[in-house]
Amino acid sequence: MSVIETRDLGKRYPGGVTALTGLTLAVEPGITGLVGANGAGKSTLIKILLGLLDPTEGSARVLGHDTRTDGELIRARVGYMPEHDCLPPDVTATELVTHLGRMTGLPATAAKEQAAEALRHVGLHEERYRQIGTFSTGMKQRVKLAQALVGDPGLLLLDEPTNGLDPAGRDAMLALIHRIGTEFGIAVMVASHLLSEIERICDHLVAIEGGALLRAASLSSMTQNVPWLAIEVEEGGDRLAAHLAAAGITVHREERALLVPVGSDAVFDLVRDAIADLGLPLNRMEHRRHHVEELFATGATRTPATEPRAAEARP
């Protein structure tokens, strides 16, 4: 069953601004990335999914409930992590999350227990009696995640969860979201404008642009269609290129590396033998996959790989 289903969803604001148009989606359980530039309609979509905003066209169902009529039921079972700062500094993490647990519909005692659980799951067990004002940005982001998590939601909507975090904090947050999506079994939709970031943890990706669906697919089908092999030699790159070309392989040049499409496993052997025959000093040989960003890029003029994906190989 899909956790989110939209059909021809459209939202036109009174001023004449069209935020969403003809959006048809089916989001499966697992972790789904919602990608789009700022202003692409991500926030509008989230508001509609929470039943806080009525669409002007089409319909949306979340966890089987209609967003127009059953907003309350949806919001009782959906955890939402807002993009911006939303935490009062002068209460402890436990106080805040317990109170918000009650606001989700948990009885008093259960709210306390669930708040402690949620804070433990986000790694703030030790700090739970500290005032939020004393927290670092990373810890605050985790409090925001904990308040969304309190009461065991069926779906999490996370709006830019890595906002304002340093690289280490970002990795920790992404790892946490990945754990929630896989080990906890909670469906997660992560909205982000940084595709490179969330592609690491998502099973599915939904890209929207100008309020319309650009592409929706499982991540593997998007990224595993064009494997490349990058070869970097200390010297004699030209000789290697000529050698490989003679063997019938198309060779692309990328600065110091040679890029070779991996049509079959035989290509690996060919490359290995070529290097051995020529006696070249091999620096690096790595398997690269298509960066997802390029699949969304309209021009498609860039070289296929920008980020190394596999371990270095040495002779």
């Binding site: 508001k47 806080l52 606001m103 519909g105 948990l106 799951h121 904090g169 790892a175």
Partner: protein
Amino acid sequence: MTTTSTTAASDGNGSVIHDIGYKPYTGTRLGRAHIVRALYFFSLRAAFGFGRSARARIIPLATFALMMLPAAVSIYKVADVGGSLPLPYTHYAYNTSLLFFLFVAVAAPELVSRDLRHHTLPLYFSRPLRRADYPLAKLLALATAIVLFEGLPLVAMYLGTIASSTSGSGVWAQTRDLVPGLLVALAYGLLFAPLTLLIASTTGRRALATGAIAILLLATTAISHVLESVGTHGDGPPPVAVTQGPGAQQGPDTNPPPFKETITYNGIARNGGLVDPLRLVEGTRIWAFHATDGNIPDPQGAGGLYAAELILLTGLTAGGLYLRYRKVGVA
């Protein structure tokens, strides 16, 4: 470290996440009515600073303690000296209004400005609550807080007085006097809760909200007082000989009626109370109970106007508060 820990992942902040498994929640989930009720009690406690820092409790508890003081003195006076209460139930609120202003100027921003300031509202509205539920819970909480603030001293005074009362008729008389006093407390709650919350909900800056509420309440009282003075004409101070005649020594029954300055009020004085919420309640009380012990000039024919404005102002400010929270951004 727990023995059940299966994995431990270090994160960017040096703390360690121990995974001892995720347990889905299978317990009760309460509906919207319960959630509104929980928010109501949470806010009611917050109005007195409970559930908040010790500093937040200073003003509410200090003003409340001072509110109880006249009641304590009255109980002592009645028990020790006898006679009637020095500060009648119906005059209690009017004569302690400064304490009330201070209390409400701090409580209203505590309930709504904080959430605006820290942008906490999205966390509420992404939960089952509907837009109107939040201001409703806050409104009822502050109204209850005000009724408690004004009503508890009256109840204490009542209990203290009937404890030293010897006759059943005394108890009955006290009860009969208490009821209008409690109704005044109720009117305070109904009128001032939406009024002050509406002001507080316009800004996230608590000091600003407190100042705005205090200034509004003090200024309207001052203006009303000036209007009352302008429209009041007496026939001069009494001649000294009359008040201190020889009859004063002959016992209470033969006392000549004490001199009463004849004071006349014109329309300005009678209607001047309409600009002041405090006098609005007092004027309505005089009108509703045909009271002759008013703290302000008897509005006479304009009495209905006081009552009408009281209801209208309550309705308008409550409506304004509702509209205010329809417009609050969420995501």
